[in-house]
């Protein structure tokens, strides 16, 4: 869930922007270096950004019976790494603010911090940790996406609680209020996003080993057995 335009007081909006800036600048510098060394990467990065944008637009059936949208941060971080996701996430959030009226420009810093920085880093950290202990790929992918989704909403709760402390119990009371509202809706959604990410990854392993190897998700020995055919995944999907 994005924090809407004007929701945060000016000081908070600026502070979250300042907190996000080093991560985005670091990601942007590595992206610029990559593009200068390999000009063709521009198109690949653009495609990755478009994929992230479209992934966040997919409607996800929620356990409560309603629909919601995945954040896409877990899958994005596993595929493209967190520093790149900081930039792609910022671009995606900017487009969502201007093209879909989701989020906002004054709250861009806060939304970037939760969705493009903390979510990807937390999800990727859990994914890498589980893979280091030889946990199966799909289990690691599930927990990576689950943690990325949940941590995004935890940070959003903290941001809102800091901006609107409870009159009776201050920050902790407000955190409990926002956290409990999010917990009811977001824990089922985080499970849903984890499941969806596993399904997507399973199909990608079947059909796009070449791309996954290029991105470093799969090791070469596994991918070497078969060349990726883009049409395969479409056939499976249809």
């Amino acid at each position: 869930m994005h924090i809407a335009e004007g929701f945060l007081p000016p000081v908070h909006a600026v502070a979250w922007g300042v907190a996000s800036a080093p991560f985005v600048v670091h990601g942007a510098r590595s992206l610029i270096r990559e593009v200068r060394e390999h000009p063709e990467s521009t198109l690949l990065m653009g495609a990755s950004g478009a994929f992230t944008f479209v992934l966040s637009a997919l409607k996800l059936p929620s356990v409560t019976g309603s629909c919601s949208h995945p954040t896409g941060t877990g899958l994005g971080a596993i595929l493209f790494r967190p520093p790149v996701m900081a930039v792609l996430g910022t671009i995606t959030l900017l487009f969502q603010a201007l093209l879909l009226a989701h989020g906002g420009l004054t709250t861009l810093g806060a939304n970037v911090f939760s969705m493009a920085i903390v979510g990807p880093w937390a999800g990727y950290g859990v994914y890498r940790l589980l893979r280091r202990f030889d946990v199966p790929l799909m289990v690691a992918v599930f927990f990576g996406a689950f943690v990325a989704d949940l941590s995004t909403y935890c940070v959003t709760s903290v941001q809102l609680a800091l901006a609107f402390p409870d009159p009776g119990s201050g920050f902790w009371g407000a955190l409990g209020k926002f956290g409990s509202i999010f917990a009811v809706t977001q824990i089922p959604l985080a499970v849903s996003e984890g499941l969806l990410t596993v399904l997507v990854m399973r199909m990608l392993v079947q059909s796009s080993k070449g791309e996954l190897t290029r991105l470093g998700v799969l090791v070469t020995s596994v991918a070497g057995r078969r060349t990726a055919q883009p049409a395969d995944a479409e056939a499976v999907a249809r």
Binding site: I32, S48, F51, L55, T106, P167, I181, A233
Partner: protein, 249 residues
Amino acid sequence: MLPIDAAAHSSRWRRRHPVDKAVLGLGLTVLAISLPPWPGAALVLVTALAVLLGPAGVPGRRLWRAYRVPLGFCVTGALTLLVRVGGPGGFVSWAGDGPLRAGELLLRTSAASLGVLLFAFTTPMSDLLPRLVRAGVPAPLVDVALVTYRMSFLLLDSVRRVREAQAARLGHTTRAATWRSLGGLGATAFVRSFDRAARLQTGLAGRGYDGTLRVLVPEARVSARFTAASVALLATLVALTFVLERPLS
């Protein structure tokens, strides 16, 4: 194309320079969050609405369809301010100043959203992004954003068609089938985006691609009159807020 961008392409102010519209639209947003909500944000809200529906010529129906999204979030968020946790009233009780705080927040967010919508409904992304290079954003970043923007529409269209194909094959009849179809949809989006990037790369390589994407940007000049009028309007709003603040409080 997404509805807001489609409206921006056919906007009355389409030919105006993005700086003109940024001064007005984003200026209203800044005022909405920095002035006292009453009467500051209320004045900004009325002004933004009047400009959107009047001189900018945004159809009311389209505006409402875009506006109700942030409005829904604002209302949900504001509801939490109505209650307090702990204190003499019990674990959860009504907050005494809750309605006032919620009302102020609603005023602020709805006014700020209209300011950004004024900019978004009159400025197509394709006019804005290439000009960011002149504003100091590194060209490779702008190029990535441009490719993302253009590829998003193609991918959204692909996803819509794949979803229709899945529905025609009873792919959404049961919960299990819906999940399977969704997984396929996500995987297809990934594969198609990479496939398109590879084909675009091949096509551009044949045209002497050197790493920079040159695109035609419609000619437009910053209008000193429009910008001055916008600044005057913003200054009037600030002055009115301070004049009316005491009598209306």
